[in-house]
Amino acid sequence: MTNVAVAGNRTAWRGRLGTEPVAARPPLDARRALQLLLAAIWLLDGVLQYQGFLFTNGANGFSGMLAGTAAGNPAIIAKPITWDANLVDHHIVLLNAIFATIQLLLGLGIAFRPTVRVALAASVLWALGVWWFGEGLGGILNGGASPLNGAPGAVILYALLAVLLWPADREATAPFVAARAVGAHVARALWAVLWLSLAYFALTPDNRAPQGVNGMIAGMESGEPVWLQDLMKGAASLTANQGLATSVVLGIALVLIAVGVYLPAAIAKATLVLAIVVAALIWVFAQALGGILAGGATDVNSGPLLALLALAYWPLRSIATAPPTVPVVGEEPVASEQEA
C-alpha cells in the first residue's frame, strides 16, 4: 500500500516506497489450497455461464444443448432432461442468470472460510443436478463417453472433489489430503473406480474405432485460436486411423494411474505425475482448453479437475510438531501436513 500525505498544500508520498514489510505467514494448508483451486474453477464456471450464447434458446441455444444430452439415455434419465430443457427454453434468461449466479456464489462461498462447508455441500447437490439435467450423466449410459470428451462428466468431478476436500478429519495422520475427510481406504477406492472407468470408456468400440480419437480432436478445433488449432491438428494427424492403438495406450496409462495410489509412495508419486500429464494432454489436445477460447464453453471440462484430483492424492508426511495452520471455521485443527 502506498500512502500519500498532504502536508500543507503539498501532497507527498509517505514512507519509503517499496519497503513494505511482508509479515511472516503460516504455510497454507494443503487441503485449503486445493479448496481454493476448486473455488477458482467454480468462479470461472460462473463467469462462463454469463456468456451471451447461453442466454439464447432454441435448438442452437442453451436449452437445445441441454435437450441434446437426453439422446441415447434410458427414458427414466432422458425424460427429466427433456422436461428441464423445455423449462429452460421458456425462461432462458431468468434461469440461466440464476444458474450463473449460483456457480459464482459457490466459488465465492468456498473461498470464504466461514461458508466453506455450506458452499461445498451445496456444490455437491448442484453438481449432481447438473450431471443429470445438464450433462446426461456424462454420456456413460449412451455409449458416448470418453475420457477425451470429459467422461464421466466434468461436473461429477466437482462433487467428488467437494467430498474429498470436506473440512473434516477422519484420519489425523492421513497419507494424502483426499484421505482426511473420508479415510484412505474409501479415497483410494474412489480414485480407482474413477480411473478404471475412464480406462473402460477409452476402450469402448466407438472410441477405439480407427477415426474415433481423430474425429473427437478434429471436432474441437473450430473457433479456437490459431496456435491451439495448430496443436490440435498435429494431434489429430498423429491419431489419424490410429484409434485402436491410441485407445490401448491411453487405457494402459489410465489403469496404471488407477492402481498407483495403492503402491508405495515413490511409485504413487510417479503415477500421480502421469495422471497430471494425461489430464493436461487431454485438456489441451482433446478438449481445447475446455473450448473457452472459442467462446462456447460452459465449464473448463474435465482436464483441470482430474489434475486437481491427482494433487489431492499426493503423498504427505506428517509433522506432528508443526503448529496447525489457520483452520476453517468449525474445523478441528490437527497436526499439519506438508507435501512430502
Binding site: 500500500m1 502506498t2 519509503r16 513494505e20 511482508v22 481454493l36 468462479l43 454469463y50 450464447f53 485460436p225
Partner: protein
C-alpha cells in the same frame, strides 16, 4: 448476447466501488495537513468509473484511448511499486503484497481498452465500446483472446486468494469494529501513528500484514484520528473488508468482462 440488465447490475456494483473509494478519499481529507490518501483508492475510483462505462453505455465518460492512457500510467506506477516490494521482500511480495493485484487490474484494463475490436478500439467513446461489448459477447471481440483468458484466470486467482485472506483469522473480521477505536491512537502530527497501532491503509494486506505503526509505511487513515469522531461508518469504510471487498468485486467483474469479450 448477455442481457443488458445483467451488465447493468455489474455496472451498478462498479459504481458502488467507485463511490466507496471516493468516500475513502474524501474522508482522508487530502486538503488538510497530515492527511493520507492512498493510490489504491484512486485506482479503484478510476476503474469503477471506467468499468461502469464499459458495461453500461449511458455511464461512459472518456474515450477508450484516454482510459488506456490513464490505466497505462497506473500500471507503470504499480509496476514500479511491485519492483520495489520485490526488492524489499522477495517473491512473497507478489503473493501477499498490495501492489501486484493493482498492477494486474491496471494492466487488464489497458489490455481491454486496447484490444476491443469494436469502433471504440479505434478511438471511439466508451459508449461505443460498451455497445460493442454486449454485441461481441462470445464472438471473438478481443485481439489476442488467449491473453484475455490468462488475465481472467489470474484475476480469478487473486479474487479467490483475497477472499480467503479476508476471512482468515489473520485479517480478523472484527477489524471494522476495532477500527472505530484505532483512530484514537493516531497522533495528530502528519499522520504518524502511535506505536502499537496497526496500519489499516490497505486491506489487501494491511490487516493481514499488521504493519507496526511508525515503520514508515504505516499511517493508514491516520488523519481520521486526532480527536475527530469517525464513528462506526468511517471504521467500516476504512476496514479491510471494505477495501478487499471492493477489490474482489472489481476482480470478478473484470474477469466477467474479459470472458464476455473472448
Amino acid at each position: 448476447m448477455t442481457p443488458s440488465w445483467i451488465l447493468d447490475i455489474f455496472a451498478a456494483i462498479m459504481l458502488v466501488v467507485a463511490a466507496v473509494s471516493a468516500a475513502r478519499l474524501v474522508a482522508a481529507r487530502p486538503w488538510q495537513r497530515g492527511s493520507v490518501i492512498t493510490d489504491t483508492d484512486v485506482s479503484h475510483l478510476l476503474m469503477g468509473i471506467a468499468m461502469a462505462g464499459m458495461l453500461a453505455p449511458s455511464l461512459a465518460t472518456l474515450p477508450n484511448n484516454s482510459w488506456a492512457v490513464v490505466f497505462g500510467v497506473l500500471a507503470v506506477w504499480f509496476g514500479y511499486r511491485v519492483v520495489r516490494d520485490y526488492q524489499a521482500n522477495g517473491p512473497r511480495a507478489l503473493a501477499v503484497g498490495h501492489c501486484a493485484p493493482h498492477l494486474l487490474h491496471s494492466a487488464a484494463m489497458v489490455y481491454m481498452f486496447l484490444a476491443i475490436t469494436s469502433p471504440a478500439a479505434s478511438g471511439g467513446s466508451g459508449m461505443n465500446g460498451m455497445a460493442g461489448m454486449g454485441g461481441m459477447s462470445g464472438m471473438g471481440a478481443l485481439h489476442v483472446p488467449t491473453l484475455g483468458f490468462v488475465f481472467a484466470l489470474i484475476l480469478i486467482g487473486y479474487t479467490i486468494w483475497d477472499l480467503d485472506q479476508l476471512s482468515s483469522l489473520r485479517y480478523g473480521l472484527a477489524a471494522a469494529v476495532a477500527g472505530a477505536a484505532a483512530p484514537a491512537l493516531v497522533s495528530a502530527s502528519a499522520g504518524t501513528v502511535d506505536t502499537g497501532a496497526v496500519s489499516r491503509s490497505d486491506a489487501g494486506g494491511g490487516a493481514a500484514d499488521a504493519t507496526p505503526a511508525g515503520s514508515g509505511e504505516a499511517g493508514g487513515r491516520g488523519s481520521w484520528g486526532g480527536g475527530r469522531s469517525g464513528g462506526m461508518a468511517i471504521a467500516i469504510l476504512d476496514s479491510p473488508g471494505t477495501v478487499v471487498g471492493c477489490r474482489i468485486a472489481m476482480g470478478v467483474t473484470m474477469a466477467l468482462m474479459l470472458v464476455l469479450l473472448l
